[in-house]
């Protein structure tokens, strides 16, 4: 029977919620007590039960931990999976993103703070810095969002192993079409409300980008004020914020199978990281952002929490499960597209990352 596992990375450790029917959940954890877990990747390619997590101790620094048994035991590359080369003069601060590649089952991508994109060709044991992006002439001007300066979004192109989109705070969206050698800023139409020129070539604080399940050239972005869609692979962006209560937020979650279908979690503003009027809600569109439906059934009201950019995930079942976690340590699940939510974990530390996977 299929088991769904929801990985919950928090400020103080990792929890794993397991369920076969997605109604009754068993919660395992904490692992990595008092270490934050800002990134999780379930790697089930070629029948594996591998989990990679970015872990960071305030005292002892960041690392990547690797499990080959679904998160029951862990190993760490002795020399460090991610180490900035000596000539960069940089040091790893946090692993923000871990993404299995869709073309090569041995390849895993990582996004880090400081703004680094990394490629592993050995399943996440060791990573190599993508120099084409690190050496980009814009890099000295990339800045920090409230959470730090990092590459937090990595979207390999399912149509081409040569193409990829990344996003960073701050800096915005960058794309490559030649396997990472050259990168172009790709922020046309995305606003940077904190600059004198609100539409610069780069420097935007894009919070999260996700790719449409049915049409790979269609992308969605939750920006630091602004919700956008691109229908041309990210070359240009148009607002789809009309109908939302606010255009600020962190989450941008696409449906894993169905096109034009996304979820966002509105947050009041860059000055008020709480739900609008204390109404924790998910906004859902099934027409690529032309219209929005509010969903809050099963969510506590009022709520003054926040949902961070990687604190949402989806499973791959036909009736897709959508999951998100809050900064006050609750995790909610919906198996009806967001129409109703049930709480599957509570009273955890603040949730940084949520990912889900289905195991046969």
């Amino acid at each position: 029977m299929t088991q769904t596992v929801v990985g919950i990375g928090t400020r103080k450790g990792l929890w794993l919620a397991r369920s076969e029917d997605r109604r009754t959940w068993s919660l395992e954890g904490p692992q990595f007590m008092m270490r934050e877990v800002p990134s999780i990747a379930f790697d089930t390619r070629e029948g594996r039960d591998r989990v990679l997590v970015g872990v960071r101790s305030e005292h002892w620094g960041p690392t990547v931990m690797r499990s080959e048994d679904g998160g029951r035991s862990w190993d760490e590359t002795p020399e460090g999976a991610i180490r900035f080369p000596e000539d960069t003069g940089a040091a790893l601060a946090r692993v923000w993103q871990l993404v299995p590649d869709p073309h090569d089952a041995d390849v895993v991508w990582a996004g880090t703070e400081p703004h680094g994109l990394w490629r592993s060709a050995d399943g996440g044991r060791t990573f190599e810095l993508v120099r084409g992006l690190w050496d980009h002439p814009h890099r000295p001007e990339w800045g920090e969002g409230a959470g730090g300066g990092a590459i937090h979004t990595i979207l390999p192109d399912p149509r081409s192993a040569e193409s990829m989109l990344v996003a960073m705070s701050t800096g915005g969206v960058y794309r490559t079409a030649d396997a990472g050698h050259r990168w172009e800023a790709s922020n046309r139409g995305i606003k940077a409300s904190f600059y004198p020129d609100p539409f610069p070539e780069f420097g935007q604080c894009v919070h999260k980008v996700a790719r449409d399940a049915a049409e790979p050239s269609r992308l969605y972005a939750q920006n630091h004020h602004g919700v956008y869609r691109s229908d041309d692979d990210g070359a240009s962006w148009e607002s789809i914020a009309e109908g939302l209560p606010t255009d600020f937020g962190f989450v941008m979650q696409t449906h894993p199978h169905r096109g034009d279908t996304i979820w966002v979690v509105p947050i009041t503003s860059d000055r008020e990281h709480v739900p609008p009027h204390g109404e924790l809600q998910v906004q859902h569109t099934t027409d690529a952002g032309r219209t929005w439906q509010v969903h809050d059934s099963g969510l506590p009201q009022p709520s003054w929490t926040c949902v961070l950019r990687d604190a949402s995930g989806v499973d791959s079942r036909e009736d897709t499960g959508f999951y998100f976690g809050t900064r006050n340590g609750d995790v909610y699940a919906s198996t009806d597209g967001g129409a109703s939510f049930t709480r599957i974990a509570e009273q955890l530390p603040d949730v940084l990352c949520v990912r889900a996977v289905d195991l046969p």
Partner: protein, 96 residues
């Protein structure tokens, strides 16, 4: 034979040193804290990465005491060590 400097590890890091609480490191004339840490951590990369980042800098919330004094108030890792000296590696209260 060079006299030793003793490096004392906090409990949480000892499993990365094969369970040892203390590491005795040969000390050359003119050695500084960095030299002692280099020797103590060279064959223990996981332990080394907990104490210093890949640039060699001490992690912000890790304190290194030489003979009872925080080396940050001296010359950091360039602080001279003496034969028979004791280095304590300790987590700071600020990182919790």
């Amino acid at each position: 034979m060079s006299p030793d400097v003793r490096v004392v590890l906090p409990g949480v890091l000892r499993e990365l040193a094969g369970g040892q609480a203390e590491l005795d490191v040969p000390c050359e004339e003119g050695a500084v804290v960095r030299d002692v840490l280099d020797r103590a951590l060279a064959d223990r990369p996981l332990l080394g990465a907990r104490v210093r980042d890949e640039t060699g800098a001490m992690r912000r919330h890790v304190n290194v005491f030489l003979d009872g004094r925080d080396v940050r108030f001296d010359a950091g890792q360039d602080t001279p060590v003496r034969a028979g000296g004791v280095i304590h590696i300790l987590p700071s209260v600020s990182g919790g």
